[in-house]
């Protein structure tokens, strides 16, 4: 919540003119009881950034431990707890709520031309549930840790003596937060569009958030049920998953991935939405293939429900099931490809400015393309036998989740920062940070592809000496990444204190947050209710 705290430091600095949503009311209580979607979004932003810093801290510890085989700085059990917390915090406390909770909350009503989301109080409840879930999840750090991996595979998770209960309960609560946000967005998009805001005039980020919300609402309850069953097994010894009690461990994997694969799309779809905005605005170019991008989001969300078994090709599921899941997995690659081709085509004939958001968007195209293509290796039944549960998988999902979603999130943060805070940050420092991030990321994770294909399994505390140079290289990259993030933190915080006052439309955007709302917006977003007469990407008149 650095962002909120920093607001109090602003006393002496030049302030954005007039009243806005940040200074409309003062004091901590006004924040904790607010129903303003922008304030809630800002509190989400602070919270997910704290979670990201924590998850990142664990990541740096893990990489440091892996600098050499065997004991470097921690024991095997500490290592197992560190990678579990890294995964659980990054997945459940950072990535899933990051873009919808922080940027989505801030943007959805403004982009629609609405005063707020459909259910403002429910929105605040989502945030509180997020905090409660986070407290339960993180309480495990002081109550014996957790060493199951973020996947809670049974029977390990039903037999380990670490804090499985508090974390699964925390994630159970976080699920409600996620469902309520999704519900709110869907209703808001159906009911609160401004006059003239047809579905095809909605900015593409809204289509992707809509698709995300569908997945959140339909998939999250399955995770909730699965975790409840796991808790019932641990506490009451009801045999569901543990064969010692008459259960089936592979059933757990089906239940878990039935949520957790769609959850991958909960994580990446909002990022894809951001990229559509960044590329169009910073190339001042009408988006290429609006409908193709919009409907590919929906296609990904729907087909994404049918591919969970590709996490289980070697689990002992039937060969027929594995074959069907492999086939559907290749099908779901098609709409992702369509998006990438349309984004690149949007650059054609544009007027591309290398602003920080555009640099992150190009990072995204580079990294996400690698992440997507390496998924094809894992979709192939034969090749997956070799690569499953190796560092190749680790590298693949980091290229998608971090190279994709986190890069898009950073791009979105830099894009809407002036709108959210009313301040500009240093473009020069941002370019340096983006470069550090890009290089650090590839050094850290590309080396892991090589480790994986050569046979290095994941979740290994100790490893063969022959893998040491690549591990050391990867660890070195993690330090570059760390420095990049510290630099971002520095200039973003500095902008709050002494950044130039942001104009209403610094990038020449055509969607409502730029054309009709001040930087930062007033409490109910607009002085006058906007009336929409054209789409959000009409850049081609030759004036900005």
């Amino acid at each position: 919540m650095s962002v909120i705290a920093a607001d109090d430091d602003l006393e002496g600095a030049p302030r954005p003119r007039g009243t806005n949503y940040i200074n409309a009311e003062r004091g901590i209580v006004s924040w904790l009881t607010t129903v303003d979607h922008k304030r809630i979004g800002l509190m989400y932003l602070g919270s997910v950034l704290v979670a990201f810093a924590l998850g990142g801290f664990f990541a740096l510890l893990l990489r440091l431990e892996l600098l050499s085989p065997g004991h470097t700085i921690m024991s095997a059990n500490q290592y197992n707890q560190a990678f579990t917390l890294h995964g659980a915090v990054m997945t459940f406390l950072f990535i899933i709520p990051s873009i919808p909770g922080a940027l989505g909350n801030f943007l959805v009503p403004i982009l629609l031309g609405a005063k707020d989301v459909a259910f403002p109080r429910l929105n605040l409840l989502s945030l509180y549930l997020y905090w409660i879930g986070a407290i339960f999840t993180l309480s495990s750090i002081v109550t014996g840790g957790l060493d199951t991996g973020w996947t809670f595979y049974v029977p390990y998770a039903s037999t380990t003596n670490t804090s499985v209960l508090s974390v699964t309960f925390g994630i159970f609560v976080l699920g409600f937060s996620s469902v309520l946000t999704g519900l709110n967005f869907i209703v808001t998009m159906h009911k609160l569009r401004a006059p003239g805001m047809t579905w095809y005039r909605m900015p593409l980020i809204l289509w992707s958030l809509y698709a995300t919300s569908i997945v959140q609402i339909l998939a999250t309850p399955v995770l909730a049920i699965t975790l409840l069953l796991l808790m019932a097994e641990r506490v009451f010894h009801i045999g569901i998953f543990d064969p010692a009690l008459g259960g089936d461990p592979v059933l757990y994997q089906h239940f878990f991935w039935f949520y957790s694969h769609p959850a991958v799309y909960i994580m990446i779809l909002p990022g894809m939405g951001i990229i559509s905005e960044l590329i169009a605005v910073h190339a001042q170019r009408k988006i290429f293939g609006y409908k193709a991008i919009a409907f590919s989001s929906v296609a990904i969300a729907l087909v994404g429900f049918l591919v969970w078994g590709h996490h289980m090709f070697v689990s002992g599921q039937s060969e027929v099931a594995a074959t069907i899941f492999s086939f559907l997995t290749f099908i779901v690659a098609v709409p992702s490809g369509i998006k990438v081709f349309n984004w690149v085509s949007t650059l054609y004939g544009g007027s591309i400015k290398f602003t920080a958001p555009m640099l992150f968007a190009m990072c995204f195209l580079f990294l996400f393309t690698i992440g997507g293509l390496t998924g094809l290796f894992l979709g192939m039944l034969s090749v997956d036998m070799h690569l499953h549960d190796t560092y190749f998988v680790v590298a693949h999902f980091h290229y998608v989740m971090m190279g994709g979603t986190v890069t898009a999130f950073l791009g979105g943060l830099h894009h809407w920062w002036p709108k959210m805070t009313g301040r500009m940050y240093s473009q020069k420092l941002a370019a340096v940070a983006a470069a550090l991030y890009f290089i650090g990321f590839n050094v850290t994770f590309f080396s892991q592809f090589i480790l994986g294909t050569r046979g290095m399994p994941r979740r290994y505390y100790n490893y063969l000496d022959q893998f040491q140079p690549l591990h050391a290289f990867s660890t070195f990259g993690s330090w570059l990444l760390g420095v990049g993030f510290l630099l971002m933190l520095y200039y973003l915080l500095k902008s709050l204190k002494s950044g130039a006052i942001a104009p209403q439309n610094p990038w020449g955007g055509k969607s409502l947050e730029w054309t009709d709302a001040a930087s930062p917006p007033v409490t109910e977003n607009f002085e006058h209710r906007p009336v929409v007469t054209e789409g959000p990407y009409e850049f081609n008149e030759g004036k900005s």
Binding site: A76, A322, I338, H386, T453
Partner: protein, 316 residues
């Protein structure tokens, strides 16, 4: 268990030492070059457009082409057809790996935290060492005693989970007489990364001889045999010799030491206590440690237990 190194065959992949490996690798290389091609296409186009259409002045006119149905169809159908090809190729390799030849030699594999046991048709059992004949198909029928583990042989390109309460199978035909690394690929707790085994691929006559002798019986002097067994049978995964705590009590200065037990009693460690702890580990648990040790009943011969005791005395 000291991990056996993986022989690297090319920049990306381990050496191919099974009949399956070339087939898996063929699929790998097709998807690899296809990916390289698409990557160059996408990132190349992006880089070219970024330079060609960089902003030279504010407010310049940009293209108004906002869609192309023909292009959409092209970049939907062509990748889709390529993806179908990849699917078919993957399926073909998978089918080869799924069905073992009928004449295959069958060996039982049991996994538990954190060791592998292999049982041969003649009743011989080995721990963490799987002896197999070269050029003959071997089918593994596998199960786990506790949680999910995964049998991963990088040089053979096979991987299969072992699930408690069910049997899973995999098969291979080794093509080189050498030691091949086995790794556990499904996370299983403290000793996961040390849960390795070694496949000893032998020419048929050598294998027969090896199996008859009960799987690598050794005529080493007791303390040296004990030293070998101590790492090979995974003792070192949980018990240190330098006093540090891992999963179980350290064995430094063991003989003659007095241990407090769960339940309040105590025991003075002697040969009998060590023997009992190996064969019936749950009988007298040292206070503060989990009852995690598997029994070695039937997995260690008397001579081998004697050898372990001799070794522990020698490092006392």
């Amino acid at each position: 268990m000291r991990l056996t190194p993986i022989d690297i065959g090319s920049f990306w992949l381990p050496r191919q030492t099974s009949t399956l490996a070339p087939e898996v690798d063929a699929g790998f290389h097709v998807v690899y070059w296809l990916s390289v091609g698409f990557f160059v296409l996408v990132v190349g186009a992006m880089a070219y457009f970024a330079v060609r259409y960089r902003r030279r002045r504010e407010g310049e006119k940009t293209s108004s082409i906002d869609h192309s149905t023909a292009l959409e169809i092209v970049w939907t159908t062509i990748p889709a057809l390529m993806l179908l090809g990849l699917f078919a190729m993957g399926l073909k390799g998978y089918a080869s790996a799924a069905v073992a030849p009928a004449e295959a030699l069958e060996i039982q594999v049991t996994a538990e935290k954190w060791l592998w046991t292999f049982t041969y048709p003649n009743g011989t059992t080995t721990v963490n060492e799987l002896g197999v004949p070269k050029d003959r198909p071997v089918r593994l029928v596998m199960s786990s005693k506790d949680i999910v583990h995964s049998f991963f042989v990088p040089e053979f390109r096979i991987k299969q989970d072992l699930v408690p309460g069910a049997y899973t199978t995999t098969w291979f035909q080794a093509t080189e007489a050498k030691d091949v690394a086995v790794l556990c690929a499904e996370y299983c707790g403290t000793g996961h990364s040390d849960m390795g085994a070694k496949i000893i691929v032998m020419d048929e006559p050598v294998y027969k001889d090896w199996l008859e002798k009960g799987g690598g019986a050794s005529d080493l002097p007791p303390a040296e045999l004990g030293k070998k067994l101590f790492t090979q049978r995974s003792c070192a995964t949980c018990h240190s010799l330098d006093g540090s705590r891992i999963q179980g009590p350290s064995l430094k200065g063991l003989i003659g030491r007095s241990e407090d037990l769960e339940g309040g009693a105590s025991v003075k460690v002697d040969e009998n206590y060590i023997r009992e702890s190996i064969l019936n580990p749950g009988a007298k648990i040292v206070r503060g440690y989990p009852a995690a040790m598997p029994t070695f009943q039937g997995l260690l011969k008397d001579r081998e237990i004697d050898a372990l005791i001799a070794y522990l005395k020698s490092v006392n």
